[in-house]
């Protein structure tokens, strides 16, 4: 959990740092608004390069290399338009490049404790995804290296996989008007709040609960650990996604939403579609749909779903627990759709949501631990095996000192606040605009106050 949070929250140039918020972002925005529209893509690419160089100087060659390889593969596919065998070679070159990068970087992390930044994987996947789309002729082969490189390396999306479909990038960047700029900055600030204040705080709670569980286990501490992990992961990742989308909107690039209130899901299959949506869409298009198209029967279809679940789990690192988590959720999805479709669909909505939430939260007992042995210990504590008490003063202290954060984060993980805002915008649009401006200033002050 700390590794995931560290990717977004740590570093002087992380998207919620004071340096980024008060210096880098204003400078980048001014430059972006000052240049004419036809130079915007070039400027954004240069700014992205400068950002990567400043934030992760040692890693710069990798996204450059990945982008160049993917672009060349795409160009070569365009050259050999009528030769499917040759097109396939370049496709596999791009795929192999990405797999080697992922495996190599994960090896670096596991064996030498060197943590690569997340953006490298996003960059590599983005490029390979574009090559895959071009291979299937869903998009024409891109001729502009600037546009292609911008798609792969646009700096806000390096914190969250918010854009993995090249066809959605068509016609971008656009000139943002005042409204889009303001709403983009508001979304960015909301994302910073979610990721840094809630996500950071929940990560700290997770560490405390993990320590409390190891020293003096109780059933409540075990369940609190998985709930806090679930909330923390959601806030860090969705906050990063919102920051990326907000910044993208401010710079004229629309990006897709990555999380859609996953803990309100009606089924596990629904959860997989609401959680890390861009990644699940990528895996579904390039892996699941291709396997399903072979029509090898329900068993193979189920196996394909499990494989896709495992690939989603790999996003959290080359860890066995990540793979097991993905497989766990996928198995439940298979059970829902293939073996118990009627009960799953006919149960009352509230029951379905609660049931799904329980399955999902229990599943985080796998992802929250570093090893299967750790998971077994945690599950044992959740079930109260070994005569552990229901609660102890340590967990009560941790929960009581973080009660406000827990309550607010539970509320914000639902769509209630968003629905209220939507209703306000529909009912009283002018008042809503004024309130939005006040909310923006208030949020900025609150974020600064709580970050000091």
């Amino acid at each position: 959990m700390e590794a995931i949070a560290g990717q977004v929250l740590q570093g002087a140039l992380s998207p919620g740092s004071f340096l980024f918020l008060f210096v880098v972002l204003p400078v980048f925005l001014i430059l972006s608004l000052a240049v004419p529209g036809r130079y915007r893509a070039r400027l954004l690419l240069i700014l992205s390069g400068v950002y990567i160089l400043a934030a992760w100087p040692w890693w710069l060659p990798l996204p450059v290399l990945s982008t160049v390889v993917d672009f060349l593969c795409m160009r070569m596919m365009g050259r050999y338009e009528e030769e499917p065998e040759r097109r396939r070679i370049f496709l596999w070159l791009s795929v192999a490049k990405t797999l080697i990068m992922i495996a190599g970087l994960s090896l670096l992390e596991q064996a030498f404790a060197v943590l690569p930044f997340w953006g490298l994987f996003i960059c590599a996947l983005s490029g390979t995804g574009a090559v895959l789309e071009a291979h299937r002729r869903e998009i024409p082969c891109e001729n502009s290296f600037v546009r292609f490189a911008l798609y792969c390396c646009f700096f806000p999306k390096l914190f969250a996989p918010t854009m993995l479909r090249y066809s959605a990038f068509d016609g971008q960047p656009r000139n943002p008007d005042g409204d889009r700029l303001f709403m983009g900055l508001l979304l960015y600030l909301q994302g910073a709040f979610k990721a840094f204040l809630f996500g950071g705080r929940l990560t700290g709670m997770y560490v405390q609960l993990q320590s409390a569980l190891e020293s003096d286990a109780s059933i409540l501490s075990a369940w609190s650990l998985v709930v806090v992990f679930a909330l923390g992961l959601y806030f860090v990742m969705s906050g990063a996604g919102d920051m990326a989308r907000g910044l993208g909107q401010a710079f004229g690039i629309e990006m897709k939403r990555n999380f859609y209130y996953p803990y309100q899901s009606r089924s596990v299959g629904d959860f997989l579609e609401r959680f890390n949506m861009c990644l699940s869409d990528f895996i579904r298009r390039h892996v699941y749909d291709r396997l399903r198209a072979q029509r090898r029967g329900a068993a193979m279809e189920g196996a394909a779903l499990v494989l896709c679940g495992m690939l989603m789990g790999l996003w959290f690192g080359l860890r066995l627990n990540g793979i097991l988590w993905g497989a766990y959720l996928a198995l439940f999805a298979v059970l829902e759709t293939k073996f118990f479709p009627k009960p799953a669909a006919s149960a009352p909505l509230l029951l379905r949501r609660i049931g799904t939430l329980l399955v999902v939260v229990a599943g985080f007992s796998i992802l929250s631990q570093d090893s299967p042995a750790g998971t077994l210990r945690l599950v044992g504590a959740m079930l109260g095996t070994g005569g552990i008490p229901l609660y102890n003063s340590d967990v009560l202290y941790i929960l009581s000192t973080n009660r406000l954060v827990l309550a607010v984060s539970a509320l914000l993980s639902t769509s209630l606040v968003s629905l209220a805002a939507f209703w306000l915008r529909r009912a009283v649009p002018k008042t809503a605009r004024v309130l939005s401006a006040i909310f923006f200033v208030g949020l900025l002050l609150l974020y600064t106050a709580l970050s000091l």
Binding site: G11, F22, V23, W92, A113, Y397, S400, A449
Partner: protein, 367 residues
Amino acid sequence: MNRRMRIAICVVLAVIPMVVLWPRGQAGTQAVGLGYSEYTERLDSLVGENIPLRGLLGQAGLALRMAGGNREQDGVHIARHDFIKKLAEPDEAVMEQNMAAVRDFARYCQSINRPLYFMLIPTAEEILRGELPRFYRPVNQKQLMEEAYAALAGELVTVDSYTPLYASRERYLYYHTEDNLTALGGYYIYTALARRLRVEDAPSLSHYEIRYREEEYYGNLYELSPWKRIEGDVLMTFHFSRYEREYAVTQTRATGKYTWHALYGEHMADLGRPMEMYPGASAAVCDIIVSSPWDRSLLVFGDHTAQAWLPFLTSHYRRVTFVNPAHNPALFAAVDPEAYDQVLVAFSVDSWASSRGAPASLTLFVE
């Protein structure tokens, strides 16, 4: 290359490193990022320090966090009226080392026929438990003290400082903004010491003239905390009114020796260092000579808590020498326990349980 071969290669690339490295899975959580530039870190700090209304915003943020239930900042509890420093988790190795040093020192004192007294002093976190957050479970200092006393029983005389402090816990025993006992807290410790050291019974408080030297003192915990809504402390000095005595207090510090001819160096308050007016504060050695009818002398090994109770002991001795072994040993190498009638070792539980070098330095006198 056929399709199955390609799939197999992909699976191998993805799975084998994971299987090979499975036992090392935890390395990822301790992995260190490459590329966080020191320059950008410094820039970020600079921006943070120069944000307009920084102080006001910081206080507002802290108030919000505290309203949400988080009343612990950087190892300090923020109670309604006090900063209470958290006791670090006791280090068994350090306690063993300190125990061995005191045991060796006790044997040395027995060999030179000098009675040795031993006292552990609880911190505010133990005595002021009622002010701690609900459900918070502090280190059980009473149990730590009892275990230490039980282990050393028979080799020296132990002094119970817990009971008189706990009995008077509603009183102003610990500073609100400094991690130390007040002079009033020192008085209650002195009442326990006087009994065990077999001197006269401790006079009641009514026999002391209390002077209030500073009424808005903000100590180290206040300086370190961003929370500024705790009231300042009152610095008191207790003057035994029954007799007039003359004192010569010599403090040995790294910067040299300083002597003043009063029990309290009240001029230090005028120099902006009011806490240093207490004998023993910030000094490696504090030698107090008293024009007293008593012929007894006392050697004390202790820490910063001694400044609270040391002045009271001067009523019963011709000479009291305090040594803080946390300082450079060269500064107290000349102190000879054989030149004293009694020896007292008194440390706070904090120094005992988590601080290397303080009690353990007693071995220097044994060698």
